[in-house]
């Protein structure tokens, strides 16, 4: 299935909301999914895995300006924290973040807001983000961290950004799973709501 990026954003936001995220964080997830698709990364399998595991992840707490989490931390909450303070730090040590791919769009936005390249190190590898908030061409690599993640400004000149994608390919099965989550944001219709909620039966007599 070939989706527009707006469809990706809307679907991801609704699925996140349908899975129990707050409206504000669900919107952030929509934008994050769009960024991943735009960068040519397959967002859907990770998003689905995240939504399924969401209830088991630790919500981080801020203690003296540092994030702490008793177990693998929610990447969405961690990502929001990261961008909310963007520009105010040059390096942030984060707890061990689950599904670190989902933190990547937030690191990208932080880089864009700060106007500086960033390096994001996680248990699944490391990525470099350009000052324009794009993913540099480096494959994930570098030192894998155990037990914590780090986002830090870097003086290195990142390799050129990857080509951007205007559309997103998605497996039909993934689409169905996300649509099922998204449907939780909707209200099933009754005969009464059909005529009243939309404002009348609407015969075309004109």
């Amino acid at each position: 299935m070939d989706l527009s990026l707006n469809e990706v954003e809307t679907l991801a936001a609704k699925a996140a909301r349908g899975a129990g995220c707050s409206w504000g964080e669900a919107d952030e997830m929509g934008r994050a999914a769009r960024w991943l698709a735009h960068s040519g990364l397959a967002f859907a399998p990770t998003l689905i895995a995240f939504l399924e595991a969401r209830g088991t992840l630790a919500r981080p707490r801020a203690v003296d300006g540092q994030l702490e989490a008793p177990g693998p931390a929610c990447p969405l909450a961690t990502g929001c924290w990261l961008v909310d303070g963007a520009g105010a730090w040059t390096m942030v040590d984060l707890p061990d973040v689950a599904f670190p791919l989902l933190l990547l769009p937030f690191a990208a936005r932080a880089a864009h807001l700060a106007g500086r390249p960033l390096r994001f190190t996680s248990r699944e590898g490391a990525w470099t983000l350009t000052a324009l908030g794009e993913l540099s061409g480096d494959e994930p690599g570098g030192v894998r961290s155990e037990g914590q993640s780090r986002v830090a400004c870097t003086g290195d000149v990142p390799s050129p950004a990857r080509p951007v994608h205007r559309r997103a390919a998605m497996e039909a099965a993934d689409l169905r799973v996300l649509q099922t989550y998204a449907l939780n944001t909707c209200v099933p219709e009754s005969e009464g709501s059909r005529s009243r909620g939309a404002g009348g039966g609407g015969t075309d007599d004109d």
Binding site: S4, S22, R167, C186, R194
Partner: protein, 555 residues
């Protein structure tokens, strides 16, 4: 000694005045409306319009192409006309079949592309689309006008003006989709194309070309029916026909979900008015232009009909008020003492809300050179504004709420009538709906459009927190406040026209007020509420056709 004439302040009208639903619901189109912007650009840049394909049979079914060459690029309206059984005819968005369907295509489609479109466009939401399609739309014939006009033309008789004015359009669209819906191109694609980069320009182009198709189709059917006896429509009667549109709740949440865009639109309109009011004098030519605009408005108001009792009463008042505005404008001395400001002040004091807002729209009409640049400020990069300063302390956020949301504090949410409604999305049609909170299920899935209520709840929560607690800490601990905090930070200082300053949950809410505001920015008129939550309008009525464009006509 002459006393100095005080300069009217260039201050814009206050958000507390213009962002009330009552005022938004009295909006009229202006020269900054999007269809006017489109026509001005097309005239200025000398866009060329052709009809390279017309494969319509004697019964009026088939396909056609309307091509526009803007200089930089070509676009095509791809039009399909189909047989529609009577029992499937409904002009609500929930329909599943239509008389005609359309896509605006990026480029010029070849035969294979046309066949692909023909397999999908008539199915609309049930079809699947690509980045080559910029918009998607459909329209039904006016039961009152289309067939009777065809029969009249076929018999060789020129139709009466009254019959045409009573309806004003041959077809009515029920949706014009853009921005990635059903797989069509994302709006991003247009961002770097000046010809369609402004708000809703691709949608306006679509509707403008649909208008041409509806007239060509009627004349084609008349020729097929009447042969040599058939006559075409006189050009001045042709001009009187626009495109109808039915709009329901689907459009209402848009303004709440895109507040920086709403701000940009209203701010541009208010800035235009302020600039004109600040003119110390105007030329006799501009004065004459203003009088002509008021006369056209009187004509529009004269033929404006609706079945809605509230709107009917307003229109009656408007007609009388426009006569008074005309008298005041005639006796206005254009050479002294800020004539436009004086006329606006007269409207404000002496006329009803409909006429006051109409006057505000009409006053900028003669002053294109002074205000048209504002059209360029009406597009917004919403992404670039998507940030929040997490270092802000709770007490500062609280102060921002008190500064910008005083109107919300005045609503008594202990009164059940104040939160009688809730906004939701229907599972069947994925369309926004309005429910009765205490009578219908689904309030647990309420959409986040309860701005006044939620900002006041946030305020109460903030008051319980240590004043130095930062915004980032607050929303980390309570993510359910994130969207409200973000909104307050975005709209409480820099985008004061972004918030509709009324209670969107109230039992007294008339959602059509929101719809009318947006439709007026499109350039619609003849607002005809069919209930408190959907209405019919017309667009491009009296406007030139693409092929008639000349700079003078479109400006």
């Amino acid at each position: 000694m002459n006393r100095p004439i005080p300069e009217p302040a260039l201050a814009l009208r206050a958000p507390d005045e213009v962002m009330r639903l009552e005022c938004l619901g009295a909006s009229h189109p202006t020269r900054l409306s999007f269809l006017r912007t489109l026509m001005r650009r097309a005239a200025r840049e000398g866009w060329r319009f052709t009809r390279p394909l017309w494969e319509i049979d004697a019964e009026g079914y088939g396909r056609a192409l309307y091509q526009v060459d803007t200089g930089a690029r070509s676009y095509c309206l791809v039009a399909f006309s189909h047989y529609l059984p009577e029992e499937r005819r409904t002009d609500r968005v929930i329909a599943e079949a239509w008389d005609t369907s359309y896509a605006l295509y990026d480029g010029v489609p070849d035969r294979d592309e046309l066949d692909r479109l023909e397999a999908n466009v008539p199915r609309q939401e049930a079809g699947r689309f690509t980045a080559r399609e910029l918009t998607l739309s459909r329209a039904n014939k006016s039961v009152r006008l289309f067939d009777s006009l065809v029969a009249t033309l076929a018999s060789g008789v020129a139709p009466g003006r009254a019959a045409i004015d009573a309806v004003g359009y041959l077809m009515r669209t029920t949706a014009v989709y853009g921005n990635g819906k059903f797989g069509i191109a994302d709006r991003d694609v247009l961002r770097d194309r000046p010809e369609l980069g402004g708000p809703f320009q691709a949608e306006m182009l679509t509707v403008w070309l649909i208008r041409s198709f509806t007239l060509d189709l009627a004349e084609h059917c008349a020729r097929a029916l009447g042969g040599d006896r058939a006559v075409p429509l006189e050009p001045d009667l042709r001009r009187r026909i626009g495109v109808g549109n039915s709009t329901g709740l689907g459009m209402a949440p848009f303004l709440v979900r895109h507040p920086t865009l709403l701000h940009a639109w209203i701010h541009a309109r208010e800035t235009a008015l302020a600039r004109v009011r600040a003119l110390p004098d105007i030329t006799p030519g501009q004065h004459g232009h203003l009088l002509a605009a008021i006369d056209r408005a009187r004509e529009v108001a004269g033929r404006w009909t609706t079945i809605d009792a509230v709107q009917s009463a307003r229109i009656a008042g408007l007609r009388a008020d426009l006569d008074r505005l005309h008298m005041a404008a005639v006796s206005l001395d254009p050479g002294v003492d800020h004539p436009c400001d004086r006329l606006y002040r007269f409207a404000r004091v002496a006329l009803g809300l409909e006429a006051r807002e109409y006057a505000a729209a009409l006053l900028i009409e003669p002053f294109g050179a002074l205000v048209d640049d504002l059209a360029d400020t009406m597009a917004v990069d919403e992404d670039a504004l998507w940030r929040m300063d997490g270092t802000l302390p709770a007490h500062a956020l609280l102060a921002r709420i008190d500064d910008a949301y005083g109107w919300a504090a005045a609503i008594d949410f202990a009164d059940p009538a104040s939160d009688a409604r809730f906004w939701y999305v229907s599972a069947d049609k994925l369309e926004p709906r309005l429910g009765e909170r205490r009578e219908e299920p689904g309030a647990d899935r309420e959409q986040p459009l309860a701005i006044a209520r939620d900002v006041m709840r946030l305020r109460a929560h903030l008051a319980t927190l240590p004043p130095e607690r930062t915004v980032a800490e607050i929303v980390l601990e309570r993510p359910d406040w994130r969207h409200v905090v973000q909104r307050v930070l975005l709209l409480s200082r820099d985008h004061l026209y972004g918030e509709v300053r009324d209670n969107l949950l109230s039992a007294a809410l008339r959602p059509i007020d929101l719809l009318r505001c947006k439709l007026a920015f499109f350039g619609a008129d003849q607002f005809d509420p069919r209930s408190d939550r959907w209405l019919r309008i017309s667009m491009f009525r009296g406007a030139p056709f693409p092929e008639e464009l000349s700079a003078g006509e479109a400006a």
